[in-house]
């Protein structure tokens, strides 16, 4: 019996017992949780940006759903609209765009997110890169004008905050430092979902408590970013942009809680998730401090998505008593 067992290599990869399956853990329920977690952020976006937020959210939501339906039809598979995953992609995408971005940016980003970010790889669960960030990266490079600083800051906007520079840009260009208050509550310009640290923390904590998002990823990201920002402050003590500004400003919290935690594109094991979070935090700070871009969350998440298979490979849990 024993000899027989050693002859075969297992074909099905299973983790050690106990093997529990739960009817509560469907994609649909998870995605509904994510939508619930996003609701404080969406609410803040609506409160701060009014019609700009409504418009962008509608465009991206409808764009992603339509793209999903179209591409799944092309692949002759039943449409997966009712698992809400396309809706989540659409909302996260909208929340990562500037409110004043023209309509075609939302449409193109949605089609690229679903088409090139997800369906090309084989649909939900198979994609390597976070679909929303693929879509955003595409429009960011394609329409640098509308997605860079001038895209955020529009003098003739009907909503007051959009007429001002984003806190990160203002600091990079003129050295002006936003107050921690405004960054915490979110009454500043920026991408729709990133302005309010409070809303991101509320929604994010809900997801972590519900175990829909793994706490290791945001924890790793925030701790690493805080540590690196602290070091940067020690090196340049004259800078008024403190570690707290780094944490509350920009899209660090939004990215850490809602983008990096996508279960498909992040590692499987708790240790791997922590490494992933540390990597995101590290690249965010490197890009913020040393690159020409004011913000680095999108590229950081995409970079770490790319090494996720490697992290998974490194952190395969060893069964109890197995010889290394």
């Amino acid at each position: 019996m024993k000899a027989e067992q050693t002859q075969y290599t297992p074909v099905i990869h299973v983790s050690p017992a106990p093997h529990l399956s739960s009817r509560d853990l469907t994609t649909r329920k998870m995605m509904r949780d994510v939508l619930l977690g996003l609701s404080p952020v969406v609410f803040m976006a609506l409160y701060v940006f009014h019609w700009y937020a409504v418009k962008q959210l509608m465009i991206c939501l409808l764009g992603c759903l339509a793209a999903e339906a179209l591409f799944m039809k092309m692949r002759a598979k039943s449409a997966t609209l009712n698992d809400y995953s396309a809706a989540v992609t659409g909302i996260i995408l909208a929340l990562s765009l500037p409110g004043a971005a023209p309509w075609y940016i939302g449409v193109i980003a949605s089609v690229v997110a679903i088409g090139m970010g997800k369906v090309v790889f084989g649909g939900i669960g198979m994609n390597i890169f976070n679909p929303a960030m693929v879509g955003r990266a595409f429009v960011m490079i394609a329409f640098a004008g509308a997605m860079g600083a001038p895209g955020y800051e529009q003098i003739h906007a009907t909503v007051d905050v959009i007429t001002r520079a984003t806190p990160m840009d203002a600091f990079k260009q003129t050295g002006a430092v936003a107050s921690l208050d405004s960054l915490f509550w979110g009454l500043t310009n920026g991408s729709l979902g990133e302005t309010s640290a409070l809303a991101c923390i509320l929604g994010g904590l809900y997801l972590c408590v519900r175990r829909t998002a793994s706490w290791q990823i945001p924890a790793g990201t925030v701790v690493t970013a805080a540590a690196l920002a602290g070091i940067a402050n020690l090196v340049h003590p004259e800078s008024n942009w403190t570690a707290l500004h780094h944490l509350l400003g920009g899209s660090l919290l939004f990215g850490a809680f809602f983008i990096a935690t996508d279960p498909v594109t992040s590692p499987l094991t708790p240790k791997g998730k922590f490494i992933f979070g540390i990597g995101v935090g590290f690249f965010v700070m490197v890009l913020r401090l040393f690159s020409g871009y004011p913000e680095g969350v999108m590229f950081a998440v995409l970079l770490m998505n790319g090494v996720t298979p490697l992290i998974n490979h490194w952190t395969i849990p060893r069964p109890l008593g197995a010889i290394p």
């Binding site: 090309v120 490079i141 394609a142 329409f143």
Partner: protein
């Protein structure tokens, strides 16, 4: 084994069923590098067509004299000669284009489409078959370059052959002019051609069965 294809069949084969770029995935370096505009793509396609045709004809003519262990040296010699002629010709009569394409013209020497055709076809077949094969493959290569360049130039700058065709209000997709746009366009078009070919072969299968 089926009967050897006629020259006409060889020509047809090269255009889509055995398209060098879309089906064989050969010669991708120039395909990615010079397709941000239609003019550059067409010049490159013309240069490759000339070199491919001449190399195939010469190789086929001397095919009985080839020794197996020296054949690659001879292919390279033949290809390098015609590439140099093309390079000088462009520098003399299309100077601007020659500067734009820069090192990509001399790099045709290492374009594997040409050495591949010398090896698999011209060194074994009659001059006529080799010529038809070269023309088919060259047409296929031109088709691939032109289709990729058309997508990239149109989306990336709203122009075709440097003439504005889309309205001025068209927002240029800068990414399409940049290298990532080349990779994405190539990937999507390879997918489209595969899909098309698969459907066609399925249809042919069902007609036969």
């Amino acid at each position: 084994m089926a009967v050897a294809p006629t020259p006409a069949e060889r020509f047809i084969q090269g255009i889509l069923p055995e398209n060098p770029v879309y089906r064989q995935l050969l010669g991708l370096c120039p395909t990615l590098a010079v397709t941000n505009g239609l003019q550059a793509a067409l010049t490159m396609a013309g240069a490759v067509a000339f070199v491919l045709f001449c190399a195939n004809i010469v190789t086929s003519t001397i095919r009985h004299l080839l020794k197996p262990h020296l054949r690659i040296v001879i292919f390279t010699l033949i290809i390098a000669t015609f590439v140099t002629i093309t390079d000088r010709f462009l520098a003399a009569y299309m100077y601007g284009m020659s500067k734009l394409l820069g090192p990509y013209i001399p790099l045709i020497i290492v374009n594997c489409i040409i050495i591949c055709r010398c090896e698999v076809c011209a060194s074994r077949q009659s001059v006529f078959a080799a010529g038809a094969d070269a023309l088919g493959q060259a047409t296929g290569f031109a088709l691939a370059l032109v289709s990729i360049a058309a997508v990239r130039e149109l989306l990336g700058s709203g122009m075709l052959f440097s003439v504005q065709v889309l309205p001025e209000s068209w927002p240029n997709w800068v990414i399409m002019i940049l290298p990532p746009g080349a990779f994405m366009t190539l990937g999507l078009l390879v997918g489209a051609v595969n899909w098309f070919e698969q459907r066609r072969s399925e249809q042919a299968e069902s007609e036969r069965g």
